[in-house]
Amino acid sequence: MNRAELLACPECDLLQSDSAFPRPRKALCARCGAILYQRHDHGLERTAALTVAAAVLFAVANAFPIVSLELQDDRTTATLFGAIGVLWSQNMHLVAALVAFTALAMPLLEIAALAWLLFPLRYGRKAPYFGDVYAALQLAQRWGMVEVFVLGAIVSYVKLDHLADVQAGVALWSFAALMLVMAAIEANFDPRDLWSQATAL
């Protein structure tokens, strides 16, 4: 009995067996076309490496200004923390919380959850609270919006460029790089492999 070989489409519940050999890289549901799984060689190792890169970029992206503006002698800068603080001080508490949640907390949770799950696995250990942390990772992937934030930063930059002398800060590039690394994580992360390795322990 090997139930893991049995796949139910997450979107239409059609039961399918994963008996094809060689296994395809990407399997689509035979009925509704949803992605059943994507398989990647060394996907978890790549994801672990990319997670380290993401952590460094995340730190840099939050430590430096995204854009800075120069008006005569005045020079102002915007960091992500600063933006959340300004919204809060303008009594836009809910909006501040939303920005903090989607651009700061959820990307951080995604990086932390990946590290939590993947690094012990490399040393043959299954991290505690494995299922819960995996569920948290899924939440973070749904609600983390680094790519939208990057587009927002670019739009802001272009808008300001019409008005004054504006400079793109280190954090803008870091966020853009973080966006690419997060996309690479999404493309390489193989949850089936993660679960089969974790249950084999």
Binding site: P10, C32, T76, A83, G152, L160
Partner: protein, 211 residues
């Protein structure tokens, strides 16, 4: 063509493991410990609730000002639409297009699509085939997040401009309503169970098989 549910099997939302559903109400996935159910509980009702709330808030999100700008040369209150028009007239048509798609087109398309999906699931009929509706669901699942764009733009502009002596930018009340619309439509999409689209197809097949 057999569904997992018709064989008493249930797939885990979290880790996708297919397991035999226990008799008890409270069932846990044997592999990851998440709650498992044949279908998301109260899916249609919850989706309606989130969708209606989003539709109501969509009105203030578009009529109230999103961004309050004041400078030595006067002040202006921009709604989402007037912000897009301003960008267009300013010659930044590409920015106008991006903001138009993210802030106006995507939320409307998303709410309409959810409406179509809910009505078709409840009435069991519709012009769209199950496969087309599945594709529609996947589309709104992936585009919904892009509506957050304007919120981020307002946040960054307010921060950079705030400290200069010449002008100030404040987030307007529409930012709260619009942020809520984005969150509510995302929650609505999350609550909707796309497997409901296919259940009538399965029932029809079974009925034919027994007849």
């Amino acid at each position: 063509m057999t569904t997992a549910a018709s064989l008493g099997l249930v797939s885990c939302h979290t880790c996708s493991l297919v397991s035999r559903a226990p008799e008890t109400e409270e069932a846990l996935c044997p592999r990851c410990g998440s709650h498992v159910h044949f279908r998301k509980a109260g899916s249609v009702g919850r989706t309606w609730a989130f969708l209606i709330a989003a539709m109501i808030l969509y009105v203030p999100a578009n009529t109230l000002p999103m961004m309050l700008t004041s400078s030595l040369f006067g002040s202006s209150d921009d709604t989402i639409i007037s912000g897009v028009i301003f960008l267009w007239e300013d010659g930044s048509w590409y920015l106008a297009l991006i903001v138009f798609v993210a802030s106006i087109l995507v939320p409307i398309a998303k709410m309409l699509a959810l409406l179509v999906l809910l009505l078709s699931v409840q009435s069991g009929a519709g012009r769209l085939s199950a496969e087309q509706r599945s594709r529609l669901y996947r589309a709104i699942e992936s585009i919904g997040r892009w509506s957050m764009l304007d919120i981020y733009v307002v946040a960054l502009l307010a921060t950079v401009v705030q400290l200069t002596a010449l002008a100030s930018v404040h987030a307007g009340p529409a930012a709260i309503a619009f942020g809520a619309v984005v969150v509510l439509t995302m929650l609505a999409t999350e609550s909707f169970d796309p497997r409901l689209i296919w259940d009538p197809v399965e029932e029809e097949r079974e009925r034919r098989a027994t007849a």
